[in-house]
């Protein structure tokens, strides 16, 4: 059960997923195939003065019941825990004693405005010196906002082995976490790994910051129509939240314990840009390199790929560059490509893991999820984006899933059908 380079094949034996479409993998998948949008008006906080007033959001049960919104690291952790628990159950594993490491793709987190204002009130002043002194001993603030906090708590709950690894590569984070897990298994460090991406950053400052970079759609009048990857009138991405966890396993190990094999992660490729902080190299060399590296790592040719799960953010720039990259790799007739972000928005650090999960279900069920909101094709792109309706296929063996990040971190995964 080795690959073309003599490495262990890496199976996926469990998946858990949370998105604005709901809590749970199959519920999400059904909604996705039905072309359902999870984008809504922002209800979590006041949207006065905002250019963008919609997003995909995942509210926690206590928030739905009326509690104050939790800070991002709490949301990130809760969604992650739900996704991991679902993935473990699907893999037939019990919680609490996982025999392998945790590879956690998550966003940077920091103290937010409610905590800052509470500290200022307590300090009776607004300066950082006053706030810092007033904060001494508030261990909950420290452990909530340390970067190692989310991983520590997840590792404790699920009993993963070794130091939890938290990674951020912007919009490629989820794919990077999977890549770290695949490498650990190929290296023989572990027989099984929990790899996940999780993000819950829809809070006022994050929305404003992305807005100031002119990255977000401002098509507020009908939120469900705002995310339009590869469509002519696309005007930016839609921020969203969610998490997906994958149980990765050495295929031999999975078979020996009689686990159901959902699919394989056959290859990972990466390449960094060096052109601009928010844009790809104009010749597409880095995203092309990442796709080619993933194919080479999988031991496959472009013709072996039957479908591409796009990065497809719905920004004018990304979708143009992704189309250019696809043609460079696949020639003038690339395989069908669709963007899950048309329905769930851009889940940022979670996107790479969520889209890998949907790619595996695409292979399992032999059906391509659509790109919704495809009213007028962008004639300059020339892609089959599986417009508006899911499409049944047969004989689909290999899917390429693209993730391209702000800051130039590009990661592509090749997912394959169970052998």
């Amino acid at each position: 059960m080795k690959d073309h380079l003599g490495r262990p094949l890496v199976a996926v034996t469990g998946i858990g997923l949370v998105s604005p479409l709901g809590w749970g993998l199959e519920k999400n998948w059904a909604a996705l195939l039905a072309g359902t949008s999870g984008i809504t008006r922002i209800r979590r906080f006041a949207t006065d003065h905002l250019k963008t007033t919609m997003a995909g959001t995942v509210d926690l049960p206590e928030e739905v019941a009326g509690a104050e919104p939790v800070p991002a690291p709490v949301r990130v952790e809760r969604m992650a825990a739900a996704a991991i628990a679902e993935a473990l159950a699907a893999a037939g594993m019990t919680e609490g004693a996982f025999d392998g490491p945790l590879m956690l793709g998550m966003p940077p987190v920091e103290m937010e405005w409610p905590q800052r204002v509470a500290l200022a009130r307590r300090a009776g002043g607004n300066g950082h010196a006053a706030l810092s002194v007033a904060s001494i001993g508030q261990r909950d603030l420290y452990e909530t906002f340390l970067y190692g906090g989310v991983g520590e708590r997840l590792a404790l709950r699920f009993g993963t082995k070794g130091a939890p690894i938290a990674i951020t590569t912007a919009c490629a984070t989820g794919a990077s976490a999977i890549q770290l897990g695949v490498e650990a298994i190929q290296r023989g460090e572990a027989k099984s790994v929990i790899a996940l991406g999780t993000d819950g950053s829809v809070q006022p400052e994050a929305v404003i910051r992305f807005s100031l970079l002119s990255a977000l759609s401002s098509r507020n009048e009908d939120p469900t129509k705002a995310s339009r990857p590869f469509e002519k009138s696309r005007d930016g991405f839609v921020m969203s939240e969610g998490a997906a966890a994958l149980i990765l396993e050495d295929l031999e190990h999975a078979r020996a314990r009689g686990a159901t094999i959902i699919g394989l992660v056959r290859g990972c490729g990466e390449r960094a840009d060096n052109f601009h902080r928010t844009r790809s190299n104009p010749d597409g060399s880095s995203i092309i390199g990442a796709m080619k590296n993933a194919l080479a790592d999988a031991g496959l040719q472009p013709a072996d790929i039957g479908y591409v799960n796009a990065h497809g953010t719905s920004t004018p720039e990304n979708d143009k560059m992704e189309a250019l990259g696809l043609r460079a790799v696949f020639g003038e007739a690339p395989p069908p490509i669709s963007s899950n972000k048309s329905m769930i928005g851009h889940t940022l650090s979670a996107a790479g893991a969520i889209e890998a999960a949907f790619s595996l279900l695409t292979l399992r069920d032999q059906i391509l999820p659509p790109t919704i909101n495809h009213v007028e094709p962008d004639p300059t792109l020339g892609l089959d984006v599986v417009p508006n309706e899911a499409r049944r296929v047969s004989g689909l063996r290999h899917v390429l899933s693209n993730s391209f990040g702000f800051g130039g971190q590009n990661v592509c995964l090749v997912l394959s059908a169970a052998p």
């Binding site: 905002l50 010196a129 951020t168 060096n274 902080r277």
Partner: protein, 392 residues
């Protein structure tokens, strides 16, 4: 998979004591005194950043403007490492792993917005927050804030494009960054990698992150061993990047290997006190299969935080009487930069066929050092060890 030897061929090191391996070797061997600013962030003393000739490593002013001090410091040190390794021509296929903390916030804007919010009626505060942020935040500041943008800037400024990964998680993230970068080279995923981290100590947003934990030392400078039962860490400006390379690759291009990575391992005990952390570190040490402690020296990354210090001392006691140096007493604690800086100091000493005089009054032991163990017990979580050996 094959296992190939991995060596260190370049060091980019900046601390409050200066920049570059030679300056650090000279300072540490000539009675260096800690550089301390006890006033600017009182009651929390810090070790400040030295003056850097940024233009030498970040020639475009436009690039400098896109960054704040943390990213500039890291990008600067990354360039020093590439130069030290003589690897400018190898950057396009060089892999990059950065251990990162949070990027800069605009402290003045934060204080102004806080003032407005604390005096506003609760029902108006949401709209007020949006209005203030939308008008007062600089659009490009977000990019200086994102953790992965230190790596992004290293790619842009120095052309490092083989791959790019950013790990988060304070001290532990840096140890794992080096561990993963070295493991990938050892198994044949590339020939050369750049790995490290940076920490800008003169930042209120960092003080505000760590202060709630009660881990920051207050008042006047004291060496780590003199911080009493309560303990505490002093933030220290620091950046350390290492060029890692397979031994064959270094030899083939005539690059000098400064040290060989003999082993690197990490864990994170959930229950540290009462021996949990010491036991975890002892298991990592046994996993490195040490034949003996003959010729071993230790560069400790001891932060000064009490619980971690007690555990580390318990672990160190199991090694017997080996020469021990607590670099944090002179450099301070640089969170994500500390472990790479201590690995850099270890490689530097091995390449000089020497070791360092005491850095803390409690430092003891002398004698010939052939191998150096670097310890990294995180301020809250994480145990990490790296064993550096003389280059073959």
């Amino acid at each position: 998979m094959t296992r190939r030897d991995v060596v260190i061929t370049g060091i980019g090191l900046v601390s409050s004591l200066g920049e570059g391996p030679e300056a650090h070797w000279a300072a540490l061997n000539n009675g260096a005194k800690p550089v301390v600013d006890a006033a600017s962030f009182a009651p929390f003393p810090v070790h400040p950043l030295p003056v850097l000739s940024l233009d030498a490593q970040i020639p475009k002013k436009g690039d400098q403007r896109q960054m704040e001090p943390w990213q500039r410091l890291g990008t600067y040190a990354a360039g020093l490492a590439i130069d030290h390794a003589g690897a400018r021509g190898l950057v396009s296929d060089m892999h990059l792993v950065v251990a990162a903390g949070g990027g800069e916030r605009d402290v003045a804007v934060d204080e102004a917005v806080t003032a407005a919010l604390t005096s506003a009626a609760p029902e108006a505060s949401g709209a007020l927050l949006n209005e203030k942020l939308a008008t007062e935040l600089r659009p490009t500041l977000f990019l200086a804030q994102l953790s992965n943008l230190l790596a992004g800037n290293i790619s842009i400024v120095h052309g490092v494009t083989g791959s790019s990964r950013t790990l988060m998680g304070e001290e532990e993230a840096a140890a794992d960054a080096i561990r993963i970068a070295a493991a990938r080279l050892a198994e044949g995923r590339g020939e050369i990698a750049l790995v490290g981290g940076a920490f800008a100590s003169q930042r209120w947003d960092m003080v505000l992150l760590y202060a709630p934990g009660g881990v920051l030392w207050q008042g006047d400078y004291a060496p780590i061993s003199a911080r009493g039962d309560a303990g505490g860490l002093m933030l220290g400006a620091m950046a350390a990047f290492l060029v890692l390379e397979t031994a064959e690759h270094a030899q083939a291009r005539g690059a000098k290997a400064l040290a060989r990575i003999g082993g690197i391992a990490s864990d994170a005990a959930h229950q540290r006190a009462g021996g949990g952390s010491a036991t975890a570190a002892a298991a990592l040490w046994q996993g490195m299969a040490p034949a003996s402690t003959a010729g071993l020296g230790v560069i400790s990354g001891m932060t000064g935080v009490a619980e971690a210090r007690v555990e580390e001392e318990a672990f160190l006691a199991t090694l017997g009487s080996v020469p021990l140096r607590r670099s944090g007493s002179l450099l301070g604690h640089g969170v994500e930069a500390s472990f790479p800086a201590n690995v850099a100091l270890a490689a530097l000493a091995l390449s000089q066929n020497g070791f360092y005089p005491a850095m803390d009054p409690a430092d003891a032991g002398d004698g010939a050092v052939e191998r150096i163990l670097v310890t990294g017990f995180g301020q809250w979580r994480g145990e990490a060890l790296a064993l550096l050996e003389k280059a073959p």
